[in-house]
């Protein structure tokens, strides 16, 4: 072997020869969360997905100012208009945070640096919830600016017809949508399948459910107890009583928690290639 001329010998690539190696501290949760959060922003597609939250909020706000009748220039209209793109973007963000590890095969690196997959998945979940909350608050702030500007332009008094309770309902509704996206990501571990799955859940199933309810009286009675999407989107209208919460709990367990648990069980056992 000829003499090595590469910098290996001058940098500390191989410090290990010197002494007994120290015992390393386990990687803290905040580190994993920080890295996973960074991964949501540090690709072009990820960055624009995040940026789309703000962009769509601005577009929705502009649309309300331009097209809504003067009487509807109220904060509730702005919040409602902004909420619609959020219900689509946030679940996609949640799903992609999981599926990209498989679709882009980065899991090979991620799960060798942090072998505990449950910690990685938990970090991703906490990150997406955090991103979801911040996104909604940013969107509501954009809507507030729109409300002020819009009412000035229309020459109507600025109306703040939204309570804290209503905001919490919106957060809860979006939060469950986001969890649904996350669950589909964990379940399918494939970006395309998870996104299609979410659109089926958000667009196709409600139509079918409504058709069935219209045709079959027994289903119309049973629907609140079996249709999770119905219970989830109902949150945007608020006013839940004990019955509604119980229905949400029942359908949420069946359609959200059980699939999530099954998906996690498989993620922990599956082979990462």
């Amino acid at each position: 072997m000829s003499t090595a001329t590469i910098p290996v010998t001058t940098t500390d690539v191989g410090q290990h020869a010197r002494a007994a190696r120290p015992t390393y501290a386990p990687i803290p949760m905040r580190t994993i969360m920080g890295v996973e959060l960074r991964k949501m922003f540090n690709t072009r597609s990820g960055f624009w997905l995040m940026a789309s939250v703000v962009i769509l909020a601005v577009i929705a706000t502009g649309a309300v100012i331009l097209f809504a009748p003067d009487a509807d220039i109220t904060y509730d209209s702005f919040a409602g208009a902004i909420g619609i793109p959020m219900t689509i973007v946030l679940p996609i963000i949640a799903a992609l945070s999981i599926t990209s590890e498989w679709s882009q095969r980065t899991g090979l690196t991620t799960f060798t640096m942090v072998p505990s997959r449950s910690r990685v998945v938990l970090a991703k979940l906490l990150d997406t919830v955090l991103v979801g909350i911040v996104s909604i608050l940013v969107a509501l702030a954009v809507g507030a600016v729109g409300n002020v500007v819009g009412s000035q332009l229309a020459g109507v008094p600025t109306t703040w017809d939204m309570t804290v309770t209503e905001v919490l309902y919106i957060l809860a509704g979006n939060g469950l949508g986001l969890l649904m996206g996350f669950t589909l990501g964990v379940l399918f571990r494939n970006s395309a399948a998870a996104i299609v799955g979410y659109f089926v859940y958000a667009m196709v199933l409600p139509t079918l459910s409504a058709l069935l309810a219209g045709a079959q009286g027994w289903y119309a009675d049973a629907q609140p107890w079996v249709d999770f999407q119905w219970n989830q989107t109902g949150l945007f209208d608020g006013g839940y009583g004990p019955t509604e919460w119980a229905q949400l709990l029942v359908t949420g367990t069946i359609w959200l928690l059980l699939p999530l648990a099954f998906g996690l069980w498989r993620v922990l056992r599956s082979e990462v290639k």
């Binding site: 090595a4 191989g14 020869a17 390393y24 920080g34 960074r38 882009q104 095969r105 799960f111």
Partner: protein, 301 residues
């Protein structure tokens, strides 16, 4: 140090890894050689906990990989240089590793220098990298935690001859400082150039292992003499069958034994040398033809 004992992985009825056992020693580069689909990658994925073993176990520094508190600080892993998000820059990928392992920020630039990626290249997205650049980036990511053990799957793939030489020197220097290196390849030549110890695997089973020296030694000797016929007769008489080849007489005897036989018979030699790797190459070729793709269904390489 990496210890693999009685490792088996089955997919349905197919044994991708069949009772594999070997040890990769500190201070040495261990080459893991086998044709495509022989079970190299599966074995390596089992080592780092990405694939569960059916039976048997793999330990690194005496522990299972999953028991390492911060694995990147003790084991550098490169399984597939292309398994990166194509939209991330090289620098960003190293930064993610540096942050996960809680290494100082300066480590990113140091490693870029070690693998000779320029600032401009590090700022490019990985989709615009050649395979050779991805391999360099992957090696930088593996080294970033200053680990004691390196596990590299086909790291020389896509490197040009100068790159392979660079990698040989890098891994040599690393092993000389006490590190353990395990690298796989499906090319005998690469392994021969880089490794000290060789483990040959085919159809999921270890078919040969030992130091490079032993495996090459076992390949026998080439010898030329002014009177080859007499030398051949003398060798046969001494119990060493010899056959004529393009490179002279080939025999399984060692160079020492051939020299003694020639001296005793009073035959002048023109050339006497070990048949470097010829036996290993023959064995490997036989293995490759036996285990070509038709036998590997069910194994996702």
């Amino acid at each position: 140090m990496i210890t693999i004992s009685h490792l088996t992985k089955t997919y349905g009825g197919f044994r991708a890894v069949d009772d594999v056992a070997f040890t990769a020693q500190p201070g040495r580069v261990t080459g893991f050689l086998g044709p495509n689909g022989a079970g190299k990658s599966t074995t390596m994925r089992i080592m780092v906990g990405l694939t569960p073993a059916t039976t048997g176990e793999a330990t690194i520094l005496g522990r299972h990989f999953s028991e390492l508190p911060n694995p990147g600080r003790e084991v550098g892993v490169l399984l597939d240089a292309s398994a990166q998000h194509a939209g991330r820059t090289g620098r960003e990928i190293l930064t993610l590793a540096q942050r996960t392992m809680r290494m100082p920020k300066s480590r990113v630039d140091e490693m870029l220098e070690v693998v000779s990626l320029t600032d401009e290249e590090a700022g490019r997205r990985v989709r615009d990298y050649s395979l050779g650049m991805r391999q360099r980036l992957g090696i930088a990511a593996a080294l970033i935690g200053n680990p004691e053990v390196l596990i590299l799957d086909e790291p020389a793939n896509g490197l040009d001859p100068a790159g392979i030489r660079w990698m040989r020197d890098l891994l040599r220097g690393y092993a000389d400082q006490g590190g353990t290196v395990l690298l796989s390849s499906h090319l005998l030549h690469e392994i021969e150039v880089i490794a000290d110890d060789i483990v040959v695997i085919g159809q999921g089973r270890v078919v040969a292992q030992g130091t490079k020296h032993e495996l090459l030694e076992a390949a026998g000797t080439y010898v030329r003499a002014t009177d080859p016929a007499r030398l051949a007769a003398a060798l046969v008489a001494a119990g060493h069958p010899a056959e004529q080849s393009q490179q002279g007489l080939r025999t399984d005897a060692s160079t020492d034994q051939v020299g003694e036989v020639a001296l005793a018979a009073g035959i002048a030699l023109r050339e006497l040398r070990p048949a470097d790797g010829a036996g290993l190459e023959e064995m490997f070729l036989a293995l490759t033809s036996d285990t070509q793709r038709e036998d590997t269904q069910g194994e996702a390489a």
